[in-house]
């Protein structure tokens, strides 16, 4: 039964993926669609192999910014959530601000950050990613901190535990699954955000720049090879954080 489930979790998505790609390839071939309209999967694969070096370079640039943004966003998200959990007033004051932050599109946010932090540096990209991560991080952590069972709260109160002790021994450990879920959601957002922020400033390197400059020359096969690079990078981020979540869940046996 376990083996069956195992094959299913691996085989089923792969089968679906292969099927979709085959269909795509068949359509491109059957209707003789030109690569500058819709590139074929095989063409993209070929271009991916040919430009692997450049894709890797670009992915490292974008990935680094995403990683730094993920770090900044995660840490601030958790810290602010702890504060907001402790101070109801702060929590309520932050409601409209966080809701706003969640809807400010990157096209608007990135230029502001570049103006604030310099357009030749990567800071703006990292901050755009950080903001994208902050929102799910903050909301998830806050929800996690609030999932305390009343009996645990009573218990800590009966021990006259300090606020710091309650946070360290009860609230934070309890919130770990929520924090990790937030991190998981934030991870692929960080990649996408860092990538899109590349259009509005910073050094002309990275996956986003490469995608547009290839697309602008109608070289869609190469553009999609970079898109594939972006997908793989996003999947890597997601996979690592999802594995982290799974590992912690197993460790906690919940």
């Amino acid at each position: 039964m376990k083996a069956l489930a195992g094959t299913r979790t691996v085989l089923a998505p792969v089968a679906l993926g292969v099927l979709a790609l085959a269909l795509w390839q068949a359509l491109v071939v059957a209707f003789e669609i030109k690569p500058f309209l819709v590139p074929s999967p095989l063409g993209i694969g070929g271009a991916f192999v040919d430009t692997a070096d450049h894709i890797l370079d670009a992915a490292v640039q974008t990935g680094l910014n995403a990683l730094i943004g993920l770090g900044i966003g995660a840490v601030t998200g958790i810290l602010v959530a702890i504060l907001a959990n402790a101070l109801r007033v702060l929590d309520r004051m932050l409601v409209p601000l966080v809701a706003s932050l969640a809807v400010i599109p990157i096209v608007a946010l990135a230029p502001i950050f570049y103006a604030m932090f310099g357009a030749a540096a990567n800071t703006g990209r990292q901050l755009v990613a950080a903001v994208a991560v902050f929102v799910p991080m903050y909301l998830n952590t806050l929800q996690g901190l609030r999932q305390v069972e009343p009996v645990h709260r009573d218990l800590m109160r009966s021990y006259a535990a300090t606020a710091e002790q309650v946070n360290r021994m009860l609230l934070l450990p309890g919130a770990v699954p929520y924090v990790l879920n937030g991190l998981k959601i934030g991870s692929s957002l960080a990649v996408i955000s860092a990538l899109i922020a590349e259009y509005f400033g910073g050094p002309a390197n990275g996956l986003g720049i490469a995608i547009t400059s290839s697309a602008a020359g109608s070289n869609y096969t190469v553009a999609w090879a970079y898109v594939l690079g972006a997908v793989l990078l996003g999947t890597l981020f997601y996979g690592v954080t999802a594995a982290l979540e799974g590992w912690s869940r197993r460790r906690r046996r919940t």
């Binding site: 645990h152 218990l155 109160r157 021990y159 002790q165 450990p173 770990v176």
Partner: protein, 268 residues
Amino acid sequence: MTDPRPAVRIASVDKIFRGRKGAEVHALSDVSLDVAPGEFVSLIGPSGCGKSTLMRLVADLDQLTAGEIEVFGKTPEQARKDQDYGIAFQQAGLLPWRTVRANIELPLEIHGVDARGRAARSDELLELIGLADFADHHPDQLSGGMKQRVAIARALAERPRLLLMDEPFGALDEITREHMQNELVALCKETGAAVIFVTHSIPEAVFLSDRVVVMSPRPGRIKDIVTLDFSARDEELREDSTFYDGVTAVRMLLHDGAADGARGVENR
């Protein structure tokens, strides 16, 4: 343990819960009760009569509406801060990410006992509750009864002078329950701790207590107090007729004085 003051002094306490839409629940009305040091007092009564509420007031987990409570001559708040009591709830309330040992050590850790001291104490307690082999297990690997025992050990960890226990044996099966009752008796004798004990089981209350406080609901008040004066609490007592007399006395009070058919619907 020859404190002249009562361990707990409850004087004319009222507790009213104010719910949404102005709905009020009069949970406790004019409740007065003194618990002497080393005394074992059980609270018994139908569901919703305010047993848990009373215990929570003593533990400073809720605020009273009127009246006064003193714990070792101090306010409940001061007593809580001074860690004068240990508490065990009906739900075990173990932290799932801590091992059995770490759960037992939690209060010691919070109050700054060093690692050596903690380990020594938790070894003792694990022995007491018969879970020495499970020290490194996590709560989810324990049965309901085992969890409950861990929670009891945790309540005892700091050798409190006052133990507050809210239906701690509810989840145990019969044999384990008897064992834990015997252990509790031994422990109280040894440490001289006063106990306030909430239970639904009449025989349990009678077996354990110096006094059984019978409560009635709506609003919660003390209906009567049955004083029991057993010379020893051991297995023989469970067969003794004085024990059965105590059980009958409490049961009659609970059933509204009528020993027969009046075991009516309880309209909580």
